[in-house]
Amino acid sequence: MSFIVDYYNYWIVVFLMMAGFYIVISANNLVKKIVGLNIFQTSVFMMYISIGKVQGGSAPIVADGITSYSNPLPHVLILTAIVVGVATTAVGLALVVRIKRAYGTVEENEFEDKDALI
């Protein structure tokens, strides 16, 4: 039982990661791929934040009467990673817009077919 209590969080997070990962690699539509990528990354962020949690701890901002704080380091890392994530998303979506303009479609197999014709 304690085994489950210890790890349930990580297991669900793994499930979420894999759901996102599945969307990335199975989706044919490029926008959906980007959504999947975001879900994947957000779930990885959750894993980091779970690492940083201390039971009975509080948010790492000093306040009177609080002795135990959660670990601030994963928070810092994930702040960085979130911004990296949105940067990637922005560039990816911009590419999608251009692909739509160049090919008239954002379905992977369709523009592959169009390229194959050349």
């Binding site: 490029l30 994947f40 940067a87 590419l95 692909i99 160049a102």
Partner: protein
């Protein structure tokens, strides 16, 4: 007064130059600034290489916070060597790019090209210099984002899909690395590489750490295009602007190989990775399959850039092969090949870029008769091509020689034999182009406009690399000494023990609480 800041300057200089480029607005000025900054970075990198050869290791604590609390820049021979290659190639590519991108990228985008190039250089230098596992991820993403931009700058619409595929694969790879770093952090409580190494050394076998390593290796393998995760590379290199292909082919994947070496040898330690987890067999098999599969695929390509891209994947196989031999000699051959391959592929892609500029095509048909019309370009191509094959007196021969020797040292006759077969395949694919260039008449339809030799600004960097191929094929003292020192350095845990004391005090601090 800046000597003590040298470790951080190859990152900071391009980083400052990038926004300045954007502010300048004029593409000529941007080009000048980018080239000068890249050149200065190169000089600094070479001086760093000299210092590290001399003194061993340079550590630089950013913000004045001692590691592991702050981020550390850490230079040893291994990364100083690759840093010199990267900054050097970057400078040459920038010189080359001025004329090259004039025909391939619209005028209004030139400033952005230089800005993105500088950001990419920042990222690559950062990956190489940093001593912090998470910081590495950040710089990896800087370089990747800049790379996606650079690839998509080409006018061909297939560049867009190539860039997108690259983006998706690259982000998956980066996220895998992030997962791996998270697992390492979870078990050790630190992010500094040497501190990690010290703490991972305490574990003999741990499932979380194993998984972390597996994810990092898969993530890095995507970035370095290890077979079978290489599918993003050929389209990206084929459709990118020529200058970008030349830069990426000779630097980006090499940096990723370096990351793999770092994680395997410095952080986890060869013993953990190879003996506890048995990764060497997997890497060995993948490397050999990569060499053969991709060399074969290269022989049937009609687009020369695609062919070179597949050849790159095959050559990466040689590097990984060197690593997977798990000996100092093998690792040294791998490192040497990183260095030499950068010289070859840089020259080859530059030559193809020149051909593309003059003929408007990178198809093998376009190469017909170029031996007469573009003699200098084709001569450079020939030299670099011979180097890829591994003809004696070229740099390619040196690294293959060391690779074969390393394999024979371990009594791996088969591997040595397979390396030679791989070279035969290289003869086939390079030979096809040389045949077209020197022994076939030009296609008639293109005859109405005469094909001129490439402009001087493109020939000079190309020839510098071609000559370097010969120079490092004859005088191996610098490259071999550096690679040897680096390999010894990476393999010898005692050499890294300098850090132990600091790490110990850290753990004592932790224990005291």
């Amino acid at each position: 007064m800046f000597e003590q800041h040298f470790p951080v300057l190859p990152i900071v200089l391009p980083l400052i130059a990038a926004p300045l480029c954007m502010l300048l607005g004029r593409s000529q000025l941007a080009w000048l600034l980018a080239t000068i900054v890249s050149g200065i970075s190169f000089c600094i990198a070479v001086s760093l290489l000299m210092v590290t050869l001399d003194q061993g290791v340079l550590s630089y604590a950013l913000g004045g916070w001692e590691p592991p609390w702050g981020i550390e820049m850490r230079l040893d021979v291994a990364n100083a060597l690759i840093l010199s290659v990267v900054t050097g190639i970057s400078t040459l590519v920038l010189v080359y790019a001025k004329d090259s991108i004039a025909t391939e990228i619209p005028q209004s985008q030139h400033t952005l090209f230089y800005t993105a190039h500088l950001l990419c250089l920042t990222g690559l230098s950062g990956i190489l210099t940093t001593g912090d596992a998470f910081n590495l991820f950040v710089f990896l993403e800087i370089s990747s984002l800049a790379t996606y931009t650079l690839v998509s700058l080409a006018s061909d619409r297939r560049a867009l899909t190539a860039a997108f595929r690259y983006l998706v694969m690259g982000t998956i790879g980066a996220t895998f690395i992030l997962i791996g770093v998270g697992m390492m952090y979870m078990k050790t409580g630190t992010l500094n590489m040497l501190d990690l190494a010290a703490r991972i050394g305490e574990f003999e076998y741990n499932r979380t750490l194993n998984t972390g390593l597996a994810f990092i290796l898969v993530g890095v393998s995507i970035k370095l295009a290890l077979f079978p995760l290489h599918m993003w590379l050929p389209p990206a290199y084929t459709h990118a602007p020529s200058a970008v292909s030349a830069f990426l082919a000779s630097t980006a994947t090499k940096v990723a190989v370096y990351v793999m070496i770092r994680f395997i040898f410095t952080i986890y330690g060869a013993e953990y990775v190879f003996y506890s987890m048995g990764m060497d067999v997997i890497l060995l098999v993948l490397a050999i399959v990569a060499i053969f599969n991709c060399s074969f695929v290269a022989t049937v390509q009609s687009n020369v850039k695609t062919m070179l891209a597949y050849s790159s994947v095959a050559q990466i196989g040689y590097m990984i092969l060197g690593i997977s031999l798990v000996t100092t000699a093998g690792l040294m051959a791998g490192l040497l090949h990183i260095f030499n391959h950068a010289l070859m592929k840089g020259a080859l892609f530059m030559a193809v870029g020149a051909v593309f500029m003059r003929t408007g095509s990178a198809d093998i048909k376009a190469f017909r008769g170029l031996g007469k019309t573009m003699p200098w370009t084709m001569a450079a191509f020939t030299i670099a091509g011979l180097s890829i094959i591994g003809v004696p007196l070229t740099a390619g021969f040196v690294s293959k020689w060391y690779l074969v020797t390393a394999a024979l040292e371990q009594q791996h006759w088969m591997i040595a034999f397979l390396v030679l077969i791989g070279s035969l395949l290289a003869i086939v694919y390079i030979g096809r182009i040389l045949e077209a260039a020197y022994f076939k008449d030009p296609v008639q339809s293109a005859s109405d406009k005469t094909i001129k030799e490439a402009p001087l600004m493109m020939l000079v960097p190309m020839w510098i690399l071609a000559v370097a191929n010969i120079y490092f094929g004859i005088d191996t003292s610098l490259s071999v000494t550096a690679a040897d020192a680096a390999a010894n350095w990476l393999f010898e845990p005692s050499a890294q023990a300098v850090f132990q004391s600091a790490s110990q005090s850290a753990s004592e601090l932790g224990a005291a609480r």
